[in-house]
């Protein structure tokens, strides 16, 4: 297998982008990544997206986006893996370049969520769960996470307020990210007063949806070492694992076994341990998911994830910084694009381009994208040579 490096990155602001279509968003991110990489052609394009078929009545996104950005005759695929579609596209590009089948690959994630009414989007998001045995009972995706959070609070004796630190950190960091959906810090008092969506999850536990796209250009690392003076950001770990699609089938619904398995594999590939990770772009779709991810990836004891937030260890200067550019909570969660935003943000950190939320001396950055309620989890570790 060849070593793979990220040559270029691009992203759009996450927002209600009424003026922009699905392909315009994707095109903006892909062309920005190609410009950043200094390339005008690519061999392959992998597009991660969850719901274009229902939300935008457009499938066949590989071709649709490749055509739009003008990479004529390139191989192109649409990859759907619910909320982890973005990381699935990135992993596909990594494997294509590593195998030697492709020299220049573009991975993109895009989601255009505001073309459909909110209640329809809520129903479409729930298609990531088991339709017959979860969603058809009238549960939303928020509700599924609320069931996990309630049980977690019960078993490990946490109060709602103990989760505030996740949201406060994300918003504090998002305030310095011009691509973030929300760029204002929030206070603990605001967190306490936020309206309840599905108890115990309130509006400030939950990540906002939005329209957005992010992309990266991957090439063999050897190509970069021939010298253009730029830092070589290498993909040193890439692993994916699944769990049951329905929460009710898990032996332990409070443990992200797919996160544990994919993170362990990624650590092993990178030949490092959790303590070597300088920053972690976790999938904080809900505050409870941030806590569970930190535990499963070896940064906190079982049931103790919220302690890291309470003690400030997740801030940019803490022991394990998360959501350094706002995370899903403040940067936003355009479902199928999110995994690619995480990659872009890790690259920014490793290049030293993260501005006010730069993690000093960052060498290893990890991104973890969760599909469904912990059902499909993809972990990447990037390293600055």
């Amino acid at each position: 297998m060849r070593e793979v490096a990220v040559l270029g990155i691009g992203q759009t602001k996450i927002d209600e982008q009424w003026e922009k279509s699905l392909r315009e968003l994707a095109g903006e991110a892909v062309l920005a990544a190609m410009l950043d990489a200094g390339i005008t052609r690519a061999d392959a394009l992998y597009v991660g997206n969850m719901m274009s078929g229902s939300a935008n009545h457009q499938q066949h996104l590989g071709t649709y986006i490749a055509d739009w950005v003008g990479i004529k005759n390139a191989e192109a695929l649409h990859i759907e893996d619910a909320c982890s579609s973005g990381a699935a596209a990135f992993r596909s590009a990594v494997m294509a370049v590593a195998s030697g089948a492709v020299d220049v690959a573009i991975a993109a994630g895009v989601e255009k969520m505001t073309d459909s009414p909110g209640s329809e989007i809520t129903a479409e998001l729930a298609t990531a769960a088991d339709q017959d045995w979860e969603a058809s009972q009238g549960l939303s995706f928020v509700a599924l996470n609320a069931l996990i959070m309630r049980r977690y609070m019960y078993e490990y004796k946490w109060e709602r307020d103990h989760f505030a630190g996740f949201s406060i950190n994300a918003h504090a960091n998002g305030a310095h990210n011009p691509f973030a959906r929300f760029q204002e810090p929030i206070s603990e008092a605001q967190y306490r007063k936020a309206p309840m969506i599905a108890e115990p999850i309130n509006l400030l536990d939950a990540s906002p949806m939005g329209d957005g796209a992010a992309a990266a250009v991957l090439v063999p690392a050897e190509m970069l070492r021939r010298g253009n003076g730029r830092k070589v950001i290498r993909v040193v770990g890439s692993a994916a694992a699944t769990d049951t699609i329905a929460i009710h089938h898990r032996k332990d619904p409070l443990w992200l076994s797919a996160a544990e398995k994919s993170a362990r594999q990624a650590y092993s590939q990178a030949q490092i341990e959790p303590k070597d990770i300088d920053l972690f772009e976790a999938h904080d779709a809900f505050t409870i998911m941030a806590a569970l991810s930190l535990e499963a990836c070896g940064f906190a004891e079982r049931g103790q994830g919220p302690r890291l937030a309470m003690e400030g260890e997740i801030r940019p200067n803490g022991r394990i910084p998360i959501a350094t550019r706002g995370g899903l909570k403040a940067r936003g969660h355009p479902v199928g694009a999110t995994g690619m935003y995480q990659i872009v943000e890790v690259v920014q950190q490793l290049r030293g381009e993260a501005g006010a939320t730069q993690v000093e001396g960052a060498r290893y950055g990890m991104a973890q994208n969760i599909g469904g309620s912990g059902s499909n989890i993809i972990t990447h570790i990037l390293m600055c040579e």
Binding site: S119, W133, I197
Partner: protein
């Protein structure tokens, strides 16, 4: 609405019909013909009692399309006394506060309809506070 997909799981929706593994005796709901516990073939029918306890719960204040007119409604993970956990709505709660560990029992209720005179009405299981525990 997709009629066949609701119709073909009517035994589960109306009567919690699952399976029991002939090898390890694990009870399985919904049926999947392969035991998730031991991996053996498991096609022996098993009728669940419908009795269980609340493992976790929440209240929906914002519903997916098709469920809006039920708002607000409680949903739960219910641990059946035979072992499996099912995801379902809670019903007939009245003023009773829901708690983890609360005994509940299965009843058949309307889950959703198309909101006009056409189309099917989907019935299925919900769980109410157990009558026996109220005595």
């Amino acid at each position: 609405m997709e009629n066949p997909r609701h119709w073909r799981i009517r035994k589960q929706r109306y009567a919690l019909v699952g399976e029991v593994c002939p090898h390890c005796e694990a009870k399985i709901f919904p049926p999947r013909d392969v035991c998730p516990n031991c991996g053996g073939e498991a096609k022996t029918q098993f009728n669940f009692s419908g009795k269980g306890t609340v493992f976790s719960f929440t209240v929906m204040n914002d519903a997916p399309a098709g469920y809006e007119k039920n708002l607000p409604y409680a949903v739960a993970l219910v641990k059946l006394e035979e072992g499996p956990i099912v995801t379902a709505q809670l019903t007939d709660l009245g003023d009773q506060p829901v708690q983890i560990g609360m005994p509940v029992e299965m009843v058949t209720r309307r889950i959703r309809d198309d909101g006009d005179e056409k189309g099917i009405i989907v019935y299925g299981y919900k769980f109410r506070p157990a009558m026996s525990s109220a005595q």
